[in-house]
Symmetry: C2
Subunit: 233 residues, 2 copies
């Protein structure tokens, strides 16, 4: 019963080493929308941005030889909902979450997305409470093991890197990516990108929800195109 | 010819008010991959993260009544490639970019994505050179007008907000979003989410490259489902 009698501030200080001065802010960060009243969605928005930025900076400094594509993939894996839910679960977030009755009954306190969102919201609250240094101080220990893991078992290469290395190995020019079209509302756009290589008639198109994703799809398609024409060895 | 005879450091100080101490870093930030050697893609990764974070914080503070969905859409519009290219163009980035011969010939210095990337890279360089305060000091004036614009002409509502308001108007329970599946490699995943409402058999599915996008799609589908059954007024 110790877990329940402790205040949220004590719990956070014990788990993450930050003693939040603004109790009400921390309470908001731990309140799911279903509970009614002030909830954690705005703090989640802010915390998500703090998290992405701090993880990006950590990767930029820790992997001085990594390409932009590699850094992006590392970050995607580190800030994925799955990773965050795992971290939040390990810190005991499910015991501290405030949920509405319906959510409680359906086990919402164990829902990975709810846990991940609450971790982001708490990070947002820590940022507002103590600034970037406080957030960084909390975050780095949480990611130390995961960063070390990336160094020993790196992610597979992305399509753009694969295509670039393939072309460089054959002393061919680097690919160009041109945005062909952007459709949809500002927040739900679809990008279509064409990938081409100077002096080669073969091109390929890719689509995705961001220019980067569309480029990856186009690179993958062009890589396949090249590989299909090359006899297997 | 003044533009060309000025150093990059002088140009940046004149345009953005930050006198970069690390000349080599600024030169890297202005070097496109096509130029060979050290180029700006890693700095672009870092700068993109700095930008997203600072814009998120600005929105969080400037729009205390906005929902998470609204903040996300505001940010997407402020940091879109189009907005960034427009800003970079206005600052004269095309004159300062270092490109390879092929890129130069094909007008790469006017390509919106190249301009947007270089602006992000320069922001990354300013962050490394002067810390978060330097980056914030450069960014806020660039966005002042755009922020004021958002206040007078807000973006249209997103699907989740529309659905929520529709349900609240009818005193119905709030929707649940459940991740049904996640497929694909870590950096190119497709999320499928189901949206449901307690006590109503109607549900809808949506897919997208992030949980949020999938939720929006599912909300839009369920909203259509509800609306289709309601007689037009």
């Amino acid at each position: 019963m110790t877990g329940r009698s402790r205040t949220d501030v004590d719990w956070l200080a014990g788990q993450l080493g930050w003693r939040c001065r603004d109790e009400a802010l921390l309470a908001t960060a731990l309140t799911h929308r279903s509970a009614g009243g002030k909830h954690n969605e705005r703090l989640e928005f802010l915390g998500d941005a703090v998290l992405s930025f701090l993880v990006a900076e950590l990767l930029y400094r820790e992997f001085p030889e990594a390409s932009e594509g590699e850094l992006s993939r590392y970050r995607a894996s580190l800030v994925s909902g799955e990773s965050l839910a795992e971290i939040a679960d390990g810190l005991g977030f499910s015991e501290r979450l405030k949920l509405g009755v319906g959510e409680l009954r359906s086990g919402g306190f164990r829902r990975p997305s709810t846990l991940a969102d609450a971790l982001e919201a708490v990070l947002g609250a820590i940022y507002l409470d103590g600034g970037l240094e406080a957030a960084r101080g909390v975050l780095e220990p949480l990611y130390r093991g995961r960063l070390a893991g990336l160094k020993t078992t790196p992610l597979p290469k992305d399509a753009k890197t694969r295509l670039q290395e393939y072309l460089q190995d054959r002393a061919l020019p680097l690919p160009h990516y041109t945005v062909e079209s952007i459709t949809g509302e500002p927040h739900e756009q679809t990008f279509t990108v064409r990938c081409a290589i100077d002096g080669d008639a073969r091109t390929a198109e890719g689509s995705g929800s961001s220019r980067r994703r569309a480029e990856q799809m186009a690179a993958a398609a062009l890589f396949d195109e090249f590989n299909a024409r090359e006899p297997a060895q």
